[in-house]
Symmetry: C2
Subunit: 223 residues, 2 copies
């Protein structure tokens, strides 16, 4: 990488980190738990959010920020579940940045409990950009293969939680669940791991309970 | 995007394009068909290359350049098939660039027929970087979903060929093959589309024949 590139990248990341820190502070002070979902395209982020919405919306207020290069499709799917959603169309950019979330900030209802951010489908670049989230989750779908944590380490190293998706496809795939977990924990021992299927419902209750207990910790620490 | 970022990005892309043009000219003059494989992580690029190697190696000389953020795993898999492979570890960078390929250039045997380049697993950023290839192929695996061409258009718009992979999983997935083809052709009508399964062998003969006829066109135009 040339020197000029490095300087500019540091500028961007430095200013991103500052904005993200302000977002996190203000959202957490309001008792809002913000969760950043990162993954490859098609790992099942939107479908998982639809299922989470069905379970959370009885007792909690949630909203979703959708990041996509093109199309409003994902926000439309979330709105169809009765959940408010903002679509950020990056127009080519490969990740969300904190300044994009900051633009939406004034519209976020103060009585929200959960703010989910679905990042652009990319297992690499989003990992470098703090969005002001309280929890970062990386999703890995079983068809992607059990060798991905060490091949794409940054998303796994910077996350609090690993959500293995499409577990219902396991009988049809050469995916070694123990290998994937072991590799992920080797590079990040603090990872909470959930094995899920949006189709069968496997693992969804555990995952939603983890989000609820994370919210309770946040609100009690700010009480 | 700030002004400074745009200027730097144009510098990088401009210099990349120049290097790529030189690589293409020299490889084509030698009668080598270079094919750039781009896709999300886990779409099956390496497995497809293993299967292509089995079919090509009787009658042709092929080699592979493997691009990965970390690990030599993919190059090792290709070498195990008796095919020469160079591993480029980008150490965090989300795509290959022409200057990385240029470094390998002196080691490329002059009597090669096919040079495959497996890009970093990322459906977004690699599409902006010409590597000097003669053919660009985007792979989309069926578990990623049929809505991806319009959500991640650049990889589809800049490719000559779309390889749908993991067709054997279709009975277990809500993937609409006709929708995926239609969306891809709407944004790029010149796309050659192949429906393949590395597991069952479906579509591999058609794909390999397409590569062979592309090589024949190249060598006859340089004869």
């Amino acid at each position: 990488m040339e020197k000029k590139e490095i300087v500019v990248l540091e500028d961007i990341l430095g200013s991103n980190k500052k904005i993200a820190g302000q977002i996190r502070k203000r959202l957490e002070a309001r008792g809002i738990l913000t969760i950043n979902f990162m993954s490859s395209p098609g790992a099942g982020k939107t479908t998982l959010l639809e299922k989470i919405a069905e379970r959370l919306k009885q007792n909690f207020k949630m909203a979703v920020i959708e990041g996509d290069i093109e199309t409003e499709r994902d926000a439309e799917r979330i709105r169809a579940k009765g959940i408010p959603a903002w679509q950020i169309i990056t127009g080519g950019a490969c990740h969300l940045e904190a300044k994009m979330v900051a633009k939406i900030f004034p519209d976020i209802p103060p009585d929200l409990n959960f703010l989910f951010i679905e990042n652009v489908g990319n297992l690499i670049c989003p990992a470098s950009y703090d969005l002001g989230e309280s929890l970062r989750c990386v999703l890995l779908s079983t068809p992607e293969g059990d060798d991905k944590p060490k091949k794409y380490p940054k998303a796994f190293v910077t996350s609090h939680c690993l959500i293995l998706t499409k577990a219902d496809l396991l009988p049809h795939l050469p995916f070694d669940l123990e290998r994937a977990k072991k590799e992920a924990l080797e590079i990040n021992p603090r990872l909470e791991i959930f094995v899920t299927s949006a189709l069968t419902g496997e693992g969804l209750e555990e995952l939603v309970n983890f989000f609820i207990s994370s919210l309770q910790k946040l609100t009690s620490s700010h009480a």
